[in-house]
Amino acid sequence: MTLPSRAFDRRAFLARAGALSGLSVLPSFGGAPCGARDDDRALVLIQLSGGNDGLSMVVPYGDDVYHAARKSTRWKADDVLKLDEYRGLNPALGRLRERYDNGGLAIVEGAGYPQPNRSHFKSLEIWHTADAGGRNAGDGWIGKLCAAEFGNDVAPNRVVHVGSNMPYSVQSTAHPAAAFTAPAGYRWIKNADSLAELDRNATGRDGALAFLREMTRDARASSAALRSAVLRYRTEADYPDDAFGENLRAAAALVNGGLGTRVISVELGGFDTHNAQRDRHQDLMETLDGGLTTFLDDLQRSEVGRRAIVVVFSEFGRRVAENGSGGTDHGCAGPMFVAGGRVAGGVYGAHPSLVELDEGDLVFTTDFRRVYAEAIRGCFACAPERVLGGTYASLGFLA
């Protein structure tokens, strides 16, 4: 007799999970259905797509070089929400500033990586795989993380992307993410039983069809639980009336709902500000500020939520010098935010020099994988080296 293969394990598990979720698993804050544990710690990734201008988010208002380089996009000393003598937050980040004052927001300066790539897509791949090789290096870093942490133990609700445009970070052959845009539509309106029956009898096939069958199983296994967790979620947290707020609300429903969701990904797009940057970027900061702080408040409602770590990142910062259209072109290093109940607030890492530039761009001072490594240590049992392929020292934002 041969040992059961991994595919066999996965299938058997999903069949069980599907059967269970079919019996209407209603998530409650007390119970822990579907493999959730009381000490679960969730990691929430918020991607600012398009290349966030870090100098407009954490403004080096105390630096004359900044004011000289940024005639049309700059924020003056009187405008910014001062953090110290050198830096201040964008005026639209008032609520995050309060968080910072209360010690719950870590600002990581100068995040980036060696030999920076200024292509949106290549740079995102590097952030998504934590590897200079990008997609050629294999699964996204969350996929690698799941493989290291959970091995063959597959759970369809474990990694969830809320929104369209699922990032490569959560793509994985062994541990694919569930994804939805509209929770109400996260189901088969008809034929769910027939499709389950058909799946039981289907014979294997390679390539795209095998992939589609796996996704079909994951859909069936996650449909009832995810859908009801989000649709039945009631919260006093007053999310802003925009897509980002709506998606964060769903993310909070999953974390607080005790589904065993360990990684959630949400995107806020629109940061590719080649023109008219000042107003556009400020609007985005307002959206980020309102959504993120409401979300962080909402996470206080459950034990799992209080232990969650939220990481905000972008594929690159923008050039120090402005272009001629009131905007900035693609650059390199930029700040990250890390927040959550266990995060010790403050500024981590050094602000990159505005004078010693690499082809006009900021040189990174903090490898972003240090943030990943610390987040892994904070939320998972596996060694970060197994995910990141190297050792990255903690910055110390986790108390």
Binding site: N117, R118, S119, H120, F121, G163, S164, M166, P176, A177, A178, A179, F180, T181, A182, A184, G185, Y186, W188, I189, K190, N191, S194, L195, E197, L198, N201, A202, T203, R205, G207, A208, L209, F211, L212, R213, M215, T216, D218, A219, S223, D242, A243, E246, N247, G269, D272, H274, N275, A276, D283, A321, E322, N323, G324, S325, G326, D329, H330, E359
Partner: protein, 577 residues
């Protein structure tokens, strides 16, 4: 006969594929494959016709096309011009010759009206496009238009002008099978592109790199085949390329006339020179050949194959049609790895299903459905366009595909499908997504062009009004869809009973065979078909029909067959083509 030493034989084989000697095994499977990829799918009857016609004659037909590229659609409203005209109208009629400004309320009304017209026009155009895909006589041209729309991307979200978006789309339709070189020269002057990648603000004093970078990375060379200096130098060459009231304009005083060096070529280069330098570089032909091969084959091509098709492109000075012709008669295009192995995109799935069922769904439904599945036409997600392939499929979109197939079949009512309030779902907005962004941006645009918004104080108000109005428009659009319910009255009826009867299918197994052939682009395996027979049998018995009764036009057979078709279209197999 001589025995050839093995190493020589291997060498001969390695060179051989450069000349396609074997012929395509032109049968129904091959014909359906070609129609799926060069067009949008077909009924078994159309496949049969293609087989009878023969491969070469059918390929000729694909390139013949129709003469209606421009004729059926013209853009009614060029917004900027229209705005000025109407402003002039209002001022003269309401205030005579008196030099007075419009009050805020009139300005808001005007802005709202113009915005509504603009989105209505976009919707009209999109409906026309979808109709051309479903029932047009020029499927290859529409397939290529879709390709170029995902290659030279621009989004209404940023361009905010339906006229310019339509003009750009028509450019792809006109030149989509013609010269890539010409297409690049034209796209560099295209008002929507100038706006989308900010070249309209690229001036010599401080260049804007956005267009120059994406021109190299995404349009002609691919990442890694140029340096940061190339980007900066090329940006200088495009300084002063701007637009004026929706038309390309070269602004002499904003152009940098000094010497530039791009990809090692030094000279007094302007934008057109740079485009030719890029296209004539060693990396452009393989880049474009690879992208076209991936688009049509749905599989990563071998380096040899890329090289061979790059040669075809170079020999034809970047005319696209010769490459496509070569591909369509290439036996390798019909290899197992390619046949039925591509994941259908949302448009492929919805339009393909409509074509296989020989039905005409309301274009609004196809557009809404495609948006929900991740492909919102004229609103690509970013400058790289849609990623395609496996990225189309998430757990969520997979289930929604099944539900949308149910809507197409009349098995799922719009009320069930939209059993929540989609207006409250900000990610789901078929015709006017990111309302806030759009309205805020448009108000800004108005400022620039016609001082429609007089003061900052009205901004907040106007924005709120714009949003409310957008929601009303959404409500109307969705209301129309809801009103359609089971829209059998639109176009021809789906008649699966007739399909089964015409094929003389009696037993459950025969019915399964006939419907799988019609609905699926690939052959389902035996185990799946056996399970489908069980599904059909159970429903047939529950419906009180005897075996063989599926072909009777009874009150029970058609609903039963549609329920069955809905199951088939929800299968993983139905997502391939």
């Amino acid at each position: 006969m001589h025995r050839i030493p093995l190493f020589l034989a291997v060498a001969a084989v390695a060179v051989q594929p450069l000349v396609a000697q074997e012929r395509v095994d032109w049968n129904a499977r091959a014909a359906e494959h070609l129609i799926n990829r060069a067009g949008f799918g077909a009924t078994p009857e159309e496949v049969e016709r293609a087989v009878d016609l023969g491969l070469e004659a059918y390929v000729d037909e694909l390139f013949r096309g129709d003469d209606h590229i421009h004729e059926p659609y013209y853009t009614r409203v060029r917004r900027r011009g229209a705005l000025r005209d109407r402003l002039a109208d209002m001022e003269s009629s309401e205030m005579g010759a008196v030099d007075m400004e419009l009050d805020d309320e009139s300005r808001r009304d005007l802005a709202r009206e113009i915005r509504r017209d603009d989105y209505d026009q976009l919707r009209d155009f999109l409906s026309w496009w979808v109709e051309r895909m479903i029932e047009g006589d020029d499927p290859l041209r529409e397939r290529m238009t879709l390709f170029w729309h995902g290659h030279f991307t621009s989004s209404m979200d940023d361009v905010k002008n339906s006229h310019e978006m339509i003009v750009q789309n028509q450019l792809f339709r006109t030149h989509g099978l013609g010269s890539f070189r010409q297409l690049v020269h034209e796209i560099a002057r295209d008002p929507a592109m100038l706006e989308y990648l900010d070249n309209d603000a690229n001036r010599s004093k401080k260049p804007n790199e956005n267009f120059a970078r994406e021109l190299m990375e995404l349009f002609t060379l691919g990442e890694g085949h140029y340096t940061e200096d190339d980007v900066k130098e090329a940006a200088r060459a495009f300084t002063g390329w701007t637009d004026d009231d929706g038309r390309f304009r070269f602004s002499r005083r904003d152009h940098d006339y000094k010497q530039k060096t791009v990809l090692g070529v030094t000279g007094l280069l302007d934008g057109d020179d740079v485009i030719d330098v890029l296209i004539d570089s060693e990396h452009c032909a393989p880049f474009l050949a690879r992208k076209l091969l991936v688009w049509f084959e749905g599989a990563e091509p071998s380096d040899e194959r890329v090289e061979r098709y790059a040669e075809v492109l170079c020999e034809a000075d970047f005319e696209v049609a010769p490459l496509l012709r070569a591909l369509f008669i290439d036996p390798a295009f019909y290899r197992d790895e390619v046949l039925g192995a591509r994941i259908a995109g949302p448009i492929d799935f919805l339009v393909g299903t409509a074509r296989r069922l020989d039905m005409e769904p309301p274009p609004a439904l196809v557009l809404l459905g495609s948006s929900m599945l991740g492909q919102r036409l004229l609103f690509p997600p970013n400058v790289k366009g849609w990623e395609g392939g496996r990225a189309w499929i998430t757990t969520g979109t997979l289930m929604q595909r099944g539900n949308l197939a149910g809507v197409l079949l009349g098995e799922v009512s719009m009320d069930d499908f939209l059993d929540y309030d989609p207006l409250e779902d900000p990610t789901l907005n078929p015709f006017g997504d990111s309302m806030e962004a759009a309205s805020a941006g448009e108000m800004g645009a108005m400022d620039e062009m016609g001082e429609v918004v007089a003061s900052d104080e009205v901004d907040a108000d106007a924005e709120q009004n714009a949003r409310r109005e957008e929601r009303e428009r959404e409500r109307r659009a969705l209301g129309e869809l809801r009103g359609l319910r089971r829209f059998d009255h639109v176009g021809r009826r789906i008649n699966l009973t007739a399909v089964v009867r015409d094929a003389r299918a009696e037993s459950d197994a025969e019915v399964v065979e006939v419907l799988c052939e019609r609905l699926l682009a690939i052959e389902a395996d035996a185990a799946t078909k056996a399970s489908l027979v069980e599904v059909l049998r159970a429903d047939r018995e529950a419906s009180g029909l005897a075996e063989g009764g599926s072909s009777q036009r009874t009150w029970a057979s058609e609903p039963m067959l549609r329920r069955f078709a809905h199951v088939v279209l929800s299968l993983p197999e139905a997502q391939l083509h």
